[in-house]
Symmetry: C2
Subunit: 192 residues, 2 copies
């Protein structure tokens, strides 16, 4: 998506450790026009499949999740993060390891908001190691539903997540695919 790539080129800040900051328009300050356009684009890319629901994870997935759900005219559910890994009889729970923070968190969704036999689109702002997406996919499977696909804004394809999701058989649509951050510059991959 050209508009997103342009914003990443102009405003993205590359930090040591393969970190790309885009908090001026994606995950601290948010450009609502761009968010809604990204949601439209995800809806367009998945227009050939039935989608009953969008699932994302708090906090920075919510804006893109809302935009996609609005474009698709379906409900949004956001998984909540929790430090405790206790079982929760009313919720589906999955473990998500954060490589950045080196801690294991749980994400959870109340069972009543993830019904069985649905086709669920997973949405997130960033894809790095794929832990959040795979955790959300686990929630969908626990519910007895199907993953329609995974829609990502910024896909750091040089990290493990991109290949992991494809190897697991998921359909991945990323609006900006980054091949590398070498030389502290953003290099896009032209096709996913």
């Amino acid at each position: 998506m050209e508009e997103l790539k342009r914003r990443i080129r102009e405003e993205g800040i590359v930090l040591p450790g393969q970190v790309l900051k885009v908090d001026s328009f994606l995950n601290h300050q948010i450009d609502p026009m761009l968010s809604m356009a990204m949601g439209q684009e995800l809806a367009h890319r998945f227009s050939d499949v039935e989608i009953d629901r969008v699932l994302t994870v708090e906090a920075s997935g919510i804006a893109l999740g809302l935009a996609a759900a609005y474009a698709l005219h379906v409900p949004l559910v956001f998984a909540k993060k929790s430090q405790s890994v206790l079982m929760h009889e009313d919720a589906y729970v999955a473990d998500v390891y954060s490589y950045t923070k080196k801690v294991k968190n749980s994400i959870l969704v109340l069972k009543k908001f993830l019904p069985p036999d649905e086709s669920v689109l997973i949405v997130d702002d960033f894809l790095a190691n794929g832990e959040a997406s795979l955790g959300m996919a686990s929630l969908v499977h626990q519910a007895g539903s199907r993953v329609a696909g995974i829609g990502i804004a910024v896909d750091k394809a040089f990290q493990r997540g991109h290949d992991r999701l494809i190897q697991e058989g998921y359909r991945l649509e990323s609006l900006a695919v980054i091949a590398s951050l070498e030389g502290n510059r953003v290099h896009f991959r032209e096709s996913i």
Copy 2:
């Protein structure tokens, strides 16, 4: 806002301790059509004042914040929650006491995303004791900007927040004002 009140009447669950759960459409599962309509309604109610930016707090404020910012064609910034209360030289920080969880948290916004001399609309999904709204107002004042007003989806006006915000001189626009939850039923106040 009639549509919001109808949904609260039909889907809201009153729990002991003056708790109203509306997580089937507002803050776990989200109805994107309703969210966007609420954002439009807030933009309409504040159409007589200049607004440069919308400020909310993660996580459950983000959907309404995005919808309001989209309707107003201005950027959204969401404050981040932090357990630590350390000073942060790049950020404005405010303390927010949670009466539900009985803990003090900090909320913070990077200084570069809250410029001086702006008119800022504060938005949140719930108003109870007013701590989050007053914390956000503090961030705006620290930045050298003005609070244009405070826009709330569900205002539990029988708790302290509603009166505190008005006593402090803020313009408050709430889309559903709840007078009481007596008898485990939702009683709306007809005007704020």
